[in-house]
Every structure is written in C-alpha cells, then in structure tokens.
C-alpha cells in the first residue's frame, strides 16, 4: 500500500504542509490573514562539505 504522494517522491512533511496550505487558503477572509502569517518561512540552508560552505544558500518551498 503506497500512497500517491509517497509515490510522487514527497515526504509526509511536504504532503502535510501542502494540505495545511490548502486549508489555510480555504478559510474565511477574517481568519485567513492570521493564518497566512503561519504560512511564512525565511529559513535558508547552506550545505557544508570539508569544513566550508559547499554552495550558495538555497531557497526552496
């Protein structure tokens, strides 16, 4: 039993976040503004190798 999203190469984290985003978007306008704040992320990642940053910070949804 493999879920469709797993077969598509998504992890559960990504899958549940997509679901959460859809739920937030379907809220009523007065609640949506508040919920939109929870839909933000600013974290940037830099992979390191051999004690040095391997390449520039990547931004990914």
């Amino acid at each position: 039993m493999t879920n469709a999203w797993r077969a598509a190469g998504l992890t559960y984290i990504q899958y549940s976040n997509i679901c959460a985003r859809v739920v937030r978007q379907s809220l009523k306008a007065n609640l949506r503004n508040d919920a939109a704040k929870r839909n933000e992320t600013h974290v940037k990642f830099t992979p390191w190798a051999n004690g040095k940053p391997a390449r520039r910070a990547t931004e990914e949804a």
Binding site: E40, W48, N50
Partner: protein, 297 residues
Amino acid sequence: MMMQRANILMPVAIEATFQSQPQRGMATLKAISIRLKSVKNIQKITQSMKMVSAAKYSRAERDLKAARPYGVGAQQFFEKTEIQSEDKTEPKKLLIAMTSDRGLCGAVHTGVARYIRNELAKDDSQTKLFCVGDKSRSILSRTYGKNILMVANEVGRLPPTFLDASKIAHEVLKTGYDFTEGQIVYNKFKSVVSYQLSTLPVYNAPTVEKSEKLALYDSLDSEIVQSYLEYSLASLIFYTMKEGACSEQSSRMTAMDNASKNAGEMIEKLTLTFNRTRQAVITRELIEIISGAAALN
C-alpha cells in the same frame, strides 16, 4: 556568563585609566565627558533592547505553551516503545544544534555549542552536525568545521513557524546522511530567569521497526512508521525551536538588564570623576589667579 557579555559592552578597564589621569591636565575633562556620553548611549541601547526582548519574550512564552503538546506527544511515542539504538558497533550520529542568528543573549548559544563540542571531543569521526542558526555555526565551524553537514540561518529574527521547522526536518532527512541515532540539542525554557540545556533523541525508521515494544501500537506498517517519524521529527524540531526562542529572549532580557545596570554604575563613577576633575581644574585656576595677584602686590 551573562556578566561576561555585559563586560564586553562596557570594558571595566577604562575606569582604571581615568582614575590615574586627572593629574595629567585639562584634556581629561573633555575625555571624560566624551566617555560619559558614549556610556550613556550604550545604556540607552541596552535598555531599549531589553524592552524589545521583553515584548518578544511574552509572545514567545505564549507560543511555547501552544507548542509544548507537539513535543510532549512526539516524545511519548519514543518513551512508550522504549527504542534503543541497537547498532552500537558503528553508530552514525547526528547532532542538531538549535540556536539562532542573534547574539547578545547571555550563554544560550555557547551552552549548546559547548555540549556539542564535548560530544565531538569524545569521537568526531562518526558524528555530523546540523547547525540551526548562525551562532552555533560560527562557534563550531572553527574547530569542527569538517563535521558540519548543513547550516540553516535566518532563524530568530521572527518567531519560528511550523513551516520553518518542517523545512529543517525535510533538509535533515534529505541530506543523504543515514544516521542511526540523532540528538537535538536545545535550551529548555524553565522560567524567566532560567533555562536548561537538554537533548532529545531522534531515530531512523529501521531502528524504530526493530524495537520490540512497537507491537503496543496496532496495525503499523513500515509506510506509517516512516510517515510518522518524518512528522514527529518536524514536531520535535518545532517544539525545540520554540523552547530555544523563548529561552533566548528571556536570557537576552536578563543580559540586557545586567548591561544597563553595569552602564548605570559606570555612569555614576564617571560623573563623580568628571565633577572631581572639574573641581580640581577650578581650584587650580583660582590658586593661579590668587597667587598671581599676590605676587603683583
């Protein structure tokens, strides 16, 4: 540790030089007033930083209350199944350092970094690091740069969201480093004035599936276990980020309060020296005038 931070802002050494200077001449009066002004400015800065972090702290504490169930719930699973890493022969460890980008907050970041350094000092060949926040990176990169797998920054400017946590969890899973046992190192918030360095264990799917007590849970297949582990990693990271953010703000509040107090002390002493010097200058001038007048007679 907090006091150390405060002392960097206001080196105590300056005082000593001023106490020996008044004999040297008039220039010191100017020098003292310049120094006085700069210390006053520093005090203003630290005071406003304290106010800002107090406001941020109250929000972080409110958020933390809401986030606690995430962490407690996720931990329950590991406690109930009594998972232990079996592969003792070749453990591949992963340490996740929960810090932020911002400094001036006492010893929250150094505490995390020190724990990791001690862990790495034991054995650094099989351990990798995932640094969340620039602070842990800057502390650890010099000695253990080779162990750093990934750095996440832009953490701590805004309160952490679950999306931030899930992105970090996603990166942890997709680094390609197949760890057998992981640890999240973070500061656990206890009260406004105290936090405690804590660790949370993280396991990979094969280790969990080998656990005997997993039968406590009904109808689990490897698919569900994998999904759950992914989600629980995100929850744990979210929870520890909130704990860390709350400890950081409370610690910054204390640190800035101390810094303002120290600045106040310095201002007092400098004002005293300033007034004494001014008095000495006036007295000397008077003596010069009077003795000059006396010589004329």
